[in-house]
């Protein structure tokens, strides 16, 4: 069905040929009080259960408002309770272990005295990910996931992912300035690792199929010109089993925040999840708490595996400039972060000057880290 919706979206896009999309600043919108947002998955077993609490903010605001100072407890249907500890701002964690409970819910009491409770949800076993792979597309590649539930009982799936890739700065910076002196750079800033996590909702359903099989469900797309596939790329795909209600909640959220802008937009609406404010039933609460185990799979893709047209374009416009030896002091005394000195310029074996460039073109640490992640191989 998802494919079908996408087709519809494409049809729509094509009809927009004679249309245009421009940024829009809405009129001053009166913002109500801020509401509690609850995000996370209760994972029975030895995995860490992470619950993130935050507040809604004004549309024009740029901040995320984490909700710390709340008492968060996971409750099992067999009267088990698992208090959660505040890990960092708004992040609460605990390990439930393999208890006797079959169903779990979340109880929150916030610092402002409101009590929240989620519905009991049956713990679901998320099937293993069969494989993560990719298909070449017209302008890049598409990462997909394959999975199936031999028990034919899951049907609804959600995935998120973390990407890590190795990349290089445009120019190799051989030198650095230390105490206004030009020295050979002690730590390389040419090759780095960058990472990102999914920002879009990826859902799949086999409810319409004869067997509970997800075949090549698209996860993300990478352009052939992307730095992500310049050298080596890795993606960790995490899978969560959903109930039908949770699937509807996520579908609605995706529709209302990612798939708008066509001619045939559905009326936007916010669908309430399975969390309720018990001290004030009229107070909206956002989020849906699922109870399931997490499955994950990591793959690596190197540039050598890919066709020749996979050639990264450096994301910034970069040029080198020359500095004559005589002008070097101005460079050396310039505040840091304005220029980076890359290489020497020699003429007939004599040093006559240096190439300089802007840090964004030579310093990969501005966009990543030189530390290789532990999983990298």
């Amino acid at each position: 069905m998802n494919t079908f919706l996408k087709c519809l979206l494409y049809i729509t896009l094509a009809t927009i040929i004679i249309s245009c999309k421009k940024p829009y600043n809405p009129p001053a919108i009166s913002s109500p009080g801020s509401y509690l947002v609850v995000e996370g998955v209760i994972s029975p077993g030895n995995e860490i259960t992470t619950i993130r609490l935050s507040r809604t903010v004004k549309i024009s605001s740029n901040i995320i408002a984490p909700e710390s100072g709340a008492a968060v407890t996971i409750e099992g249907d067999q009267n088990e309770t698992f208090p959660m500890g505040l890990d960092s701002a708004g992040i609460y964690t605990c390990v439930i272990g393999f208890g006797i409970s079959k169903k779990y819910r979340l109880r929150i009491s916030t610092a402002d005295g409101q009590q929240y409770l989620s519905d009991f949800e049956t713990a679901q076993n998320t099937p293993h990910i069969d494989s993560v792979g990719y298909n070449l597309t017209q302008n890049g590649l598409q990462i997909y996931v394959n999975t199936h539930d031999p028990n034919n009982s899951t049907h609804y799936y959600r995935w998120d992912y973390g990407e890590t890739w190795q990349f290089h700065a445009k120019y190799f910076s051989q030198f650095e300035v230390v105490n206004n002196q030009l020295v050979i750079r002690s730590k390389q800033i040419y090759g780095c690792f960058a990472s990102d996590s999914s920002s879009n909702i990826v859902l799949g359903s086999s409810a319409n199929l004869k067997s509970d099989v997800i075949y090549q469900n698209p996860i993300t797309n990478i352009l052939a010109t992307s730095e992500k596939v310049e050298t080596k790329y890795s993606i960790l795909v995490r899978e969560y089993a959903l109930t039908g209600e949770a699937f509807n909640f996520w579908t609605n959220l995706k529709k209302n925040t990612e798939q708008l802008g066509s001619i045939f937009d559905a009326q936007p609406s916010t669908m309430s999840g399975n969390i309720h404010c018990i001290s004030n039933p009229n107070l909206p609460v956002l989020g849906y708490i699922s109870v399931c185990s997490t499955q994950s799979k990591r793959i690596f893709i190197t540039n050598l595996q890919l066709p020749n047209n996979f050639f990264a374009t450096y994301p910034y416009d970069c040029q080198q400039d020359t500095v004559k030896l005589a002008d070097l002091p101005t460079i050396l005394t310039a505040p840091p972060g304005i220029f980076d000195i890359t290489t020497q310029i020699s003429k007939n074996g004599f040093l006559v000057g240096y190439f300089i460039t802007t840090p964004i073109c030579s310093d990969c640490t501005l966009r990543g880290t030189t530390t290789q992640p532990a999983f990298w191989k």
């Binding site: 494409y10 094509a14 245009c20 809405p26 947002v37 609605n252 956002l286």
Partner: protein, 922 residues
């Protein structure tokens, strides 16, 4: 028939030859049956030496039936002209026949004694016409200055009223002229022709001048003397000199005089006048320029009439219901402008013969083929081309018209970015009309319509939809007082989507709706005060709400079929147009709707007074095929009245109720191509609406300026809205996702039209509001907490100007200006972080508005030369759509891009769009 009489006559004539007498005083024998004057005169002349002189025009309505044996000429003429105003004078062997006055063959003598005798017998009995109806030749009235005599001539006109009926046709093509008006100044009565060009008017016997006006026809008049009930066919000439003229009403006096309210009529020439986005006249876009009609935006399939939803309009093409009236998802109307004759939109006074929709009836009438000669036309535009041919199959009896349109828009798609380059789109439509006149009393009409749309995305997902319909109509005149139209037809709408992009998920999804219609409509002219309409109609629906099937061997798609739905919707109606006095006219009608939801079906029964949710299903009942599951019986009332304050000022009021049994399931702002229709069943109640309206109508400057102000208030009950996250397609239990919604709409519509002159057109302003409210106690979560919220198409202020200025007969310019308040939209009021990105939180529905809408279009129409006799006539239309290039917002929305929410404005036709169209007629 005529030939037969001629033969009879000839035979008798030869028989008589032998005994025929050759001298003036000889006795003459003859047998004349319904002989024309020419036949009579020839007969007499050949048997005698008399020579007749007469003006054939004055005698063309005279028929002579007599049998004489050896009688002198005087006696024969006395008998022939008995009780008529014809006279004769005999001078030697010359006979002068005159009408009205007598020729004296002798010099006037003081005590003259004429050789002729004016016959003057006072007729005291009612004039009875004993000739068989079908034997009568109905006079074709083609000239203005001739006096036509209707009925049996008597030399003294009997007081009282008689009935005149007949057809108004185009003299060139023989095509019926719909909505032409006949107005009799002396009695201040008027009438308009029906869809077959037929009229019946009751007038006092005597002499009258009929003023006739028809759409695109030259205004004309006919002079008649009405002796008794009779028929008169009137042929009108086309207005050839002004090929493009904005006219919106056929009937210049109808604005003030008809009892109808909220009715707009437009003929194709005014539709063609209005600039359209791609240069081709668009029947549906024109509707949007009328007061009280709005849409949610550019390029949408539906339109909203007086606060009604888009599925509350009944769109009829020559009696066939069209479910999807647009091509290419709303960019083009699915009606060929070369075939369409005119459109009528009923917003308030919906005739009782129509039912089944809440808001309006849009009747689109196609032309009949030319009954006299073969003609055709063709048009070439940037995206579409069209061709139509028409002509007689049997001259003056049977004609056909065939029109076809196709697109070649692929070039536009190839301009798209790589991702869509391999897409293709096509559409076409075909219209066929055959009309056949069996005799004066029986006509049959066959119309067929077919439209197809195909869209293929990157050669793996194909989307298609089509409308098909066939209608057969039989019109029968029982007599001057009663006629009937019996029709039957089938309509089909279907769509299909299939995708093979992912072999495991490869699917084929289909939806279709089939309906079989039958209707019998009768009109009875009871007296000059009452015209009665009555009839019955039925629609048998067969809906296949969705079929989802695998395609290809690898597909694991589970076939899913939503059980087909069946229903029978019937209506029995009776209406009376009652002229209470010359000032007051009342149209009152009642329509009894009977709706049966039929098996085979399995229906879920829900616990009473609990939300319709899966947990509240008590059990389900299984019904056999054809078994009645649920019956809804509901009467509709349709009343309107007109009171004439003076000749050009009237007050009108109306009240009507309507019911709707078929619902379009759509939770998108505009109708989406995958929306499905659902029939009312045990769990989904029919929609119900009623409207009260009041209007004041004024004509000025010899009826060339029409003004009207109409106000209305409307209630809508049990309109369907949807729960948040409702699934409407392939849902086995739609009733669990719908919420009954109540609505109210009110507004005032101001219209000023100029129907003649170098500058013509109309200006309208509408103030209207539409609110909806969910108060279903069993619905669970309600939108806006059950309070009223503005509907998507609630645009309080709407202004429209449509004008045409003719510089000369060859050049004219048109300008169309539209302004309206922006439609309501739901904006987010807060944002939060969820699922790796910023998300937005929407609050109350439709509490904000997109920026106001403004658009102006311009076109220049250039006609070729106006010589009537040339091989082809051609014309050019050049123009610009959205002249100012204003980027009107279609919608504003907030969407995530790399984890950040940003606001966007979507505009369609966001820059001036030039167009050119070349039309050719042959």
């Amino acid at each position: 028939m005529r030939k037969f009489y001629l033969l009879c006559f000839c035979y008798l004539f030869f028989m008589q030859m032998a005994s025929g007498q050759q001298t003036n005083n000889k006795l003459i024998s003859g047998n004349f049956q319904q002989a024309t004057i020419a036949q009579f005169v020839n007969g007499v002349e050949s048997k005698s030496s008399y020579h007749f002189y007469y003006d054939s025009k004055s005698f063309d309505s005279l028929r002579i039936t007599l049998q004489v044996n050896d009688k002198p000429l005087e006696t024969i003429l006395d008998m022939a002209f008995k009780n008529t105003e014809y006279h004769y004078a005999i001078s030697q062997n010359l006979v002068f026949l005159t009408k009205g006055r007598q020729i004296k063959t002798d010099l006037a003598e003081g005590y003259l004694e004429t050789t002729t005798t004016a016959v003057a017998a006072n007729q005291t009995t009612t004039v009875a016409d004993y000739t068989d109806e079908r034997d009568k030749k109905v006079p074709e009235a083609t000239t203005e200055n001739k006096l036509y005599e209707i009925g049996i001539k008597t030399n003294e006109i009997k007081p009282g009223s008689s009935r005149l009926s007949g057809y108004i046709r185009n003299i060139k093509s023989g095509e019926a002229i719909v909505g032409a008006s006949i107005y009799v100044a002396s009695t201040k009565t008027g009438i308009a022709t029906d869809q077959f060009g037929y009229f019946t008017i009751i007038l006092p016997r005597g002499r009258h001048v009929l003023n006739i006006r028809g759409l695109g026809m030259r205004d004309t008049r006919r002079q008649i003397i009405l002796y008794s009930d009779g028929r008169l066919n009137i042929e009108l000439q086309e207005q050839v000199n002004s090929l493009k003229e904005v006219k919106i009403s056929a009937d210049k006096v109808a604005n003030v005089r008809s009892a109808e309210m909220g009715v707009s009529r437009l003929n194709i020439s005014s539709i063609k006048q209005i600039p359209a986005a791609f240069g081709e006249a668009d029947v549906l876009k024109v509707v949007l320029t009328l007061p009280g009609v709005t849409s949610v935006g550019e390029a949408t399939t539906g339109f909203n009439v007086r606060g009604g939803a888009a599925d509350e309009n009944l769109i009829l093409l020559d009696g066939a219901t069209i479910y999807n009236p647009a091509h290419f998802f709303g960019f083009f109307a699915a009606f060929n402008p070369d075939i369409v004759k005119n459109i009528e939109l009923y917003k308030s006074s919906i005739p009782e013969k129509y039912g089944g929709r809440l808001s309006s009836v849009l009747e689109i009438t196609n032309r009949e083929g030319n009954k006299k000669i073969f003609t055709g036309s063709a048009g070439i535009g940037l995206l579409t081309s069209r061709l139509n041919i028409e002509g007689p199959i049997v001259k003056d009896k049977t004609s056909f018209i065939l029109g076809a349109r196709t697109t070649y828009s692929d070039w536009l798609l190839h301009l798209l970015p790589e991702a869509y380059k391999h897409s293709s789109a096509s559409f076409n439509d075909v219209n066929l009309g055959i009309s056949h006149q069996i005799n004066d009393k029986n006509n049959i009409y066959l119309t067929g319509y077919l439209s197809n749309d195909k869209f293929k995305l990157n050669s793996d997902t194909a989307y298609s939809y089509s409308n098909k319909s066939l209608v057969l109509k039989w019109k029968h005149n029982f007599n001057n007082k009663l006629y009937s139209v019996i029709s039957g037809g089938i309509d089909k709408y279907q769509y299909d989507i299939n995708s093979t992009a992912n072999p495991v998920n490869a699917f084929d999804l289909g939806f279709n709706i089939n309906q079989t219609n039958f209707r019998a409509d009768f009109t009875y002219y009871l007296s000059n005060k009452h015209t009665i309409d009555f009839g019955v109609n039925s629609i048998l629906y067969n809906v296949n709400p969705g079929k989802f099937e695998p395609t290809g061997a690898q597909s694991l798609v589970l076939p899913q079929v939503i059980a087909p739905e069946h229903a029978l919707e019937s209506g029995l109606y009776l209406g009376d147009k009652y002229d209470v006095s010359s000032k007051l006219t009342i149209n009152a009608g009642v329509r009894l709707n009977v709706y049966n939801y039929l098996g085979a079906q399995v229906v879920d029964n829900y616990a009473p007074n609990l939300p319709r949710e899966p947990v509240n299903v008590i059990d389900s009942t299984s019904y056999k095929s054809g078994q009645i599951i649920k019956t809804y019986i509901s009467p509709d009332i349709r009343i309107s009245a007109r009171y004439l304050l003076n000749d050009d000022l009237s007050l009108k009021a109306g009240y009507n109720t309507l019911h709707q049994y078929i619902h379009l399931l759509s939770n998108t702002t505009s109708i989406s191509p995958t929306d499905v229709y659902k029939l009312s069943d045990s769990n989904i109640k029919p929609e119900h609406g009623d409207q009260v309206s009041l209007g004041i109508f004024k004509n000025a400057k010899q009826n060339t300026l029409e003004m009207s102000v109409e106000v209305y208030y409307k209630r809508i009950r049990d309109y369907l809205d949807y729960k948040s996250g409702a699934v409407l397609l392939l849902n086995q239990h739609v009733e669990q996702d719908v919420i009954n919604t109540q609505g109210k709409a009110y507004g005032a519509e101001f219209l000023l039209k100029k129907t003649a002159g170098k500058l013509n057109g109309w200006v309208s302003y509408t103030y209207s509001r539409t609110f909806l409210k969910q108060d279903d106690p069993n619905a669970g979560e309600l939108i806006n907490g059950g309070a009223y919220y503005p509907a998507n198409y609630d645009k309080p202020n709407a202004f429209n100007f449509t004008g045409n200025y003719k510089f000369s007969h060859r050049y004219s310019v048109s300008l169309d200006v539209a302004y309206s308040t922006g439609r309501p939209i739901t904006l987010p009021i807060a944002k939060y972080y969820y699922g790796g990105s910023e998300r937005v939180f929407y609050s109350d529905r439709n509490q904000y508005r997109i920026p106001d809408y403004f658009r102006s279009d311009f076109s220049l129409n250039i006609e070729g030369n106006h010589r009537i006799h040339q091989l082809t006539h051609n014309s050019w239309t050049i123009g610009v759509y959205n002249l100012t290039g204003r980027q009107n917002a279609y919608s504003t929305f907030f969407t995530e891009q790399s984890g950040v929410i940003s606001g966007y404005k979507l505009s369609i036709f966001a820059s001036p769009i030039p167009f050119i169209n070349y039309n050719i007629r042959f």
